[in-house]
Symmetry: C2
Subunit: 419 residues, 2 copies
């Protein structure tokens, strides 16, 4: 699968040319196109499964874990899920063309902003082949062309999904080059892609922290990303303990392997003795391993001692770090020092401390009396999620398709010149 | 002026700590602080001029051009101008805390976005020392800490301005580390700065294309920038010729050295013979050198022939490239091929072609029947301009202080957990 790197540039140039064709597609055309792709994926179940088997065989030869194999498998259910996701994307409101802030300047010039597609989006991802259909669908809906670079484990599956997607677009009369797959998966291809500042407007990496750090280090193109989600819940001295038990349990165990699950629990020392024993019992009933600070262990002696590195850790598993703090301000300091700017929550009935937490914590999502698991595009009403950004640039927190557009200034004059 | 690079990190860490102190400053405190700095700069005219002389002496020794010397000089007028700029920034509406899109989700969770400061902004700039006060003022007003890295030519001037700024902040009770100047100006310092992803949230380079390309190539931190402004005006066959003459002349000659001046004039072939001779006469009366395509030279035989590289050129001077096109679509293609995504205008009385230009041209500012010179934060009502972005990420076009903030999600719950 090695290839002349000039071909990466050719792939990107084709997407660039196609981006001009899709930037102004009528909403109805984009909607119908995505519904057609969904139907087409379901029609081609046999072809997709047959190509997927090539990846699965290679994965077995390379002794990939059972979890990896599961993520890689295109079952009928997974393919139907890709179709459903595209159908949901199809009917989202079109973000392109939205006009905001039109004002009339003193000289009569009428100025405002109109949202336009970003242009060409590069998506670099690992493993799950359904990301291929998802990402292409989100980009097309928002008027963007996309250059996809999936992982080597899923090469045949990604190529098959892209083929079906492109053929369906072509039948709908849309330039199929709006969806391009890089025909190789080696590292040199990523490096080449990241240098094509004149063809690609934005890079979104989706995968492990290692992949994302490599992309950020080498990209000349702006990158939207999050490294990890070390999410905190602070249980304040005035927390309603019933709410606290329920929210903390939900945030940790409802789906521990995702980035908005709680990784560290902070507890105000004033309520630690009344709160921690029952909370510990509930966590342990659900198989959660607790790693606590010294003060925690004074209350629950058989708790594992948390090491310094546990405070930075995104466990993505039934493991939780627990710390008792001297009130709110130590908790905020801890989040500032160890957090990842993803999602934090406070549980309290005290109005002023709720507002202080809301203002002082500068993470991309800050909640009062609700589970961190709500930090999600769908839950926030953005529709399908493009990704999550923990950098304070372009978007912060869960991103919807509107975040795949940008506002350009439009000005209506009648002969104005600058004095 | 060499220095241990660990000190760059220390500088940035001080700014990071200060950013937490300034992120929630009340609007009135920030306003008063900036008014105090303005007054203080005027009080310290002698000190500032005395430090500036050190830079001017070095500049003469290094045989800098008269234009460079002029840009470098801190006259009483320039210092007063810095004060006025800060006074204007002081009274701008505070962008921090603005809440948008609050909605109630079906589960009762109330979700919306609140604008917060970006955090620590790194500004890398050349030459003009007044940028020091301007940039620090814009960052403070928007609740950000700033790390400044000016050019070596202006080192003593920048250090003096920063000193006065910081002392004034301290008197107002604001952490002076919110405004930090990198104590060295060599390239290694820039490289170190661009790697401090954990201390600095955003980099804004201001200067020549070479500086900006270096920054983009090496930064791990998101960069907001524009490389250059190759701005176009297209004179359509249905242009009101009087408006066209006036707008084109204004866009070229009113201030030729700035990025929103017109660099290439595109003319619909259907009106070229009636429009070009009079337009040429007017340009030549104002000392503009025209470089035309073959078809231009068929009408104005003594016009210089434009070379291929002229179409890419940001002349920043009384030079203009001129091309006759087969109507609107060739003009749009030309802008797509040679443009810089900065600012383009169409002159026409034809409604449909005006709207087509507005939709098809994806530059950051698109105008109908007005001069490209209006592409400016002040003219668009944003207040003082932070810079211009020609990348379709975060901001596109002139940026005001609101672009130094970002929306975080805030959520008010009453015990919600994810199902």
């Amino acid at each position: 699968m090695s290839v002349n790197l000039t071909s990466i540039r050719e792939v990107a140039l084709k997407a660039r040319a196609a981006s001009r064709a899709v930037m102004n597609l009528p909403s109805g055309v984009k909607e119908q196109a995505l519904l057609n792709v969904a139907a087409s994926l379901r029609e081609h179940v046999d072809f997709l499964k047959q190509e997927n088997v090539k990846d699965l065989d290679a994965a077995e030869t390379n002794s990939l874990s059972a979890a990896m194999l599961d993520r890689l498998t295109l079952s009928e259910r997974v393919i139907d899920g890709m179709g459903k996701a595209l159908e949901e994307i199809a009917v989202l409101p079109d973000p392109v063309g939205k006009i905001t802030g039109m004002t009339r300047r003193p000289n009569g010039l009428i100025v405002g902003k109109m949202r336009i597609p970003i242009g060409v989006v590069g998506i670099i991802y690992e493993s799950r082949p359904n990301v291929t259909a998802d990402a292409a669908g989100l980009c097309l809906k928002s008027g963007n062309a996309v250059v996809l670079r999936g992982g080597s484990e899923a090469f045949h599956s990604n190529r098959a999904i892209t083929k079906v997607f492109r053929e369906s677009l072509e039948k709908t009369g849309i330039d199929p080059n709006a969806v391009m797959l890089i025909p190789v998966t080696d590292r040199a291809a990523i490096m080449e892609l990241l240098s094509l500042e004149d063809c690609i407007d934005l890079i979104i990496p989706r995968g492990g922290e290692g992949l994302i750090r490599t992309v950020v280090e080498h990209s000349k193109i702006p990158v939207l990303k999050h490294y990890k989600g070390v999410c905190h819940i602070f249980v304040d001295r005035d927390a309603d303990l019933e709410k606290a038990y329920s929210i903390c349990l939900n945030a940790k165990v409802q789906r521990p392997g995702v980035c908005n699950a709680m990784e560290t629990l902070l507890i105000d020392s004033a309520i630690a003795e009344s709160f921690l024993p029952e909370m510990t019992r509930m966590f342990r009933d659900h198989g959660v391993e607790l790693r606590g600070c010294k003060r925690c262990r004074a209350i629950i002696p058989d708790m594992v001692t948390a090491r310094e590195e546990d405070w930075y850790e995104e466990f993505l598993d039934l493991i939780l770090a627990v710390k008792i703090t001297e009130g709110l301000s130590e908790a905020i300091d801890h989040i500032e020092n160890y957090g990842s700017n993803h999602t934090e929550a406070i549980i309290t009935e005290n109005y002023s401390r709720a507002m202080e937490f809301l203002h002082q914590v500068d993470s991309s999502t800050v909640l009062v009396n609700a589970s961190t698991r709500f930090s999600d595009g769908g839950e926030f009403g953005l529709g399908a999620e493009v990704g999550i950004s923990t950098s304070k640039v372009h978007a912060y927190g869960p991103m919807g398709i509107e975040d795949l557009t940008i506002g350009k200034f439009i000005c209506f004059g009648d002969g104005q010149i600058r004095q």
